[in-house]
Symmetry: C2
Subunit: 418 residues, 2 copies
């Protein structure tokens, strides 16, 4: 095989299956005798020259990595700016790549990461350094452009649908004398994909979830209250799923309580469910309960979707294959070839088409009244949560998740001043 | 077999496996040709004469009930007072029992329910009505006296340990540039059993959860902050598990935000994790995330403990056997005969020893510093989350939970004025 090193890095919020992508990258490269380094804590590890030698991990460990949630090499929330603004950082990256003979760079993340990979690739070309940059898709938000869906989403969606179905059975049992309204807060800043996946838990107006609040639709409190009340009076209780990113008609986030901004410049959210539950209690007088699953929804490898796992592995494998073929500045994306039976394949998409774009829910996926999903959405989403892929469990009743040794590579450069 | 009807009712917060108990009750009674009615919404259904004919459900449905969370016949949060105070209600119960030839009453709940069953039994004796009353244990809080553990707890404990382990892997991956402190809120008003079960997720000071806050120990904010800071500086991040019922030294609940009281007279809690997260953020400046799993933790049948499931079924079966033997005013309890290998059996305990008692964690289960569990606790808790018992899944990627027909029995009495 071509000489040189492949560098793999994880970026942004991790998922239940991003390590399955990592495992596939390492396994595919190993089979082709290509050395794989991993950056510790994402792009920061590349900047700091904190690289991990994955050859120190046994085949059994890499196999176990495929069923371990989290991000085994560490991820980060750092977005590089334009080539002009952050030129020193991009040049440092190239310096580190040269020092370690990195010829293939695989960046596993969302649209920000695709953008970074694209820029690194441009700078390499400018410096005449032979480098193939590949973006590898990942995000529970499911908001990447071009790809039909994003690895990580299907498992979070399955967690959401299963959790809502289970909690709804609890609420149904208690509603006569206790909780009448239950609010579930789903992740999703600008796209309601995870909130929508809760819709798979039931069908018809009387099955939970009864009301879904999407960031794609303005939140109208009076109308919401009216519907909650009508549902409680008709069904006996009401299960609400709210996307963290819902906003009122004037564009303000319903839960601005969290305040602040993360390093991507996104508003740091939280507290939609608590807010809605409090308002419903005060306005309608119902006993309410609410849940904020937070990280549980994106790390729940124990309830991973088999479809999602297979796609996470497929993009990892394809990324290495594309890289070794020298297909620069592309991302392996999932292309759906059939809904029923569900069929998909991997193709290469130009990073430029993915970078910095955000895919929200198609209008045809949200019910006309704005509070539920359509049959079209159901047809689209259901295959993504299909199939179970439980991790192995130990005698202690816990999943056997693996911890890597993460042995560092000897540094060749001086400290990074960035 | 003896003639007459067996009445089964569910009480209080439901669990992932209370329906497994119900299924065992129905299956055991069917095998002995005993007719089983169920009260709709717990004791309220008995008072209102809203009874369900379980013979209308097929054997396959009852079998599926064993893997369905929630409370299939409805539960309720209603506690009957003393025989003097609520005499009319107790007499109404007997009236309904007589009208439907109820000779065996199985009340599936916690210590309040054991108390109610005991009082019904006393009144029946007073009226010379031949009735055998059995309490059937259930509670995710694990706080019933006499029994070694409570059906429902093991599954909630497994959910807790698995969720904390998974979320901790997420936090570990992000900590370099993002969340440094993660707070998980566990149910448990006065007993820290569920918070303790999170301790099974890791071992040693550097493994998550790093700090557990028990209601059995006063919460000292300054000391807590000191430990959070030390953990972040040593490990890079800190995972905290807080019981909803933690209180300061002066006895005040840390999260009195929720306010109010439920019909049992318990303070309605919520918001400990959000409170702690906010305080840590302000005092220490760390980026925080937090989760409130709420009902998800007690309805997560998809991650049920096999041990718990077997015990839930065993108490259901034993309850019917005890009832038919005329063993009045008892509860089938779980007796541990060996820790390693874990062995248990069912015995009958007098309801008087269970009623209105609350079992908190033994002092020897909480680490001397107050922030973790001891090896003794580990030895005790681990068998309870051991084994997996996943529900069957459908082609749609969701567990196949069953909905009963819940056909009502024709009423024989007038409306209840209560």
């Amino acid at each position: 095989m071509a000489s040189g090193t492949l560098l793999y890095a994880q970026s942004g919020g991790v998922t239940a299956v991003i390590n399955a992508t990592a495992a596939a990258v390492i396994q595919t490269a190993r089979a082709k005798k290509v050395k794989v380094l991993a950056a510790r804590n994402g792009i920061l590890g590349a900047l700091r020259e904190e690289l991990i030698d994955t050859s120190k991990e046994s085949p059994a460990t890499i196999q176990a990595l495929a069923h371990t949630p989290g991000g085994a090499f560490g991820s980060c929330r750092v977005k590089l700016k334009s080539l002009d603004e952050d030129r020193a950082k991009y040049e440092r990256l190239l310096e580190v790549f040269k020092a370690h003979d990195v010829r293939w760079f695989l960046y596993n993340g969302g649209n920000d990461s695709a953008d970074t990979a694209l820029k690194v690739s441009k700078l390499a070309a400018e410096f005449d350094y032979p480098l193939t940059c590949i973006g590898v898709p990942k995000t529970i938000d499911n908001d990447l452009a071009v790809t039909d869906c994003c690895p990580g989403f299907g498992s979070a969606a399955k967690y959401t649908a299963v959790s809502v179905r289970e909690a709804a059975l609890d609420v149904a049992a208690m509603a006569d004398t206790s909780t009448k309204v239950f609010v579930y807060e789903a992740m999703g800043r600008h796209a309601g994909w995870l909130a929508a996946s809760a819709g798979l838990a039931g069908n018809g107006a009387d099955e939970a979830p009864h009301l879904i609040l999407f960031p794609e639709r303005p939140y109208d409190e009076a109308d919401f209250f009216k519907r909650v009340k009508a549902t409680v009076e008709r069904v006996g209780y009401c299960v609400v799923v709210a996307s963290e990113g819902i906003r009122t008609a004037d564009g303000r986030f319903v839960a601005d309580a969290g305040g602040g901004k993360d390093s991507f410049g996104h508003t740091q959210l939280g507290g939609v469910a608590s807010h809605l539950a409090g308002r419903v209690k005060d306005a309608l007088g119902y006993k309410v309960h609410w849940t904020l699953p937070d990280y549980l929804q994106r790390s729940a490898r124990h309830i991973a979707s088999k479809t999602d796992l297979e796609q996470a592995q497929a993009v990892g494998k394809a990324a290495v294959e594309f890289a070794l073929k020298g297909m620069n500045s592309v991302m392996p994306v999932i292309v759906r070839t059939s809904d029923a039976p569900y069929r998909w394949k991997i193709e290469a998409a130009p990073l430029s088409k993915v970078a910095n774009h955000e895919k929200t829910m198609p209008a045809g996926f949200i019910r006309r009244d704005g509070y539920g999903i359509t049959d079209k959405a159901r047809l689209h989403l259901e295959p993504l949560i299909r199939g179970e892929a439980p991790p192995p469990y130990g005698r202690d009743g816990l999943p056997k998740y693996v911890a890597l040794k993460n042995v560092g590579v000897r540094r060749k450069l001086g400290n990074w001043a960035g």
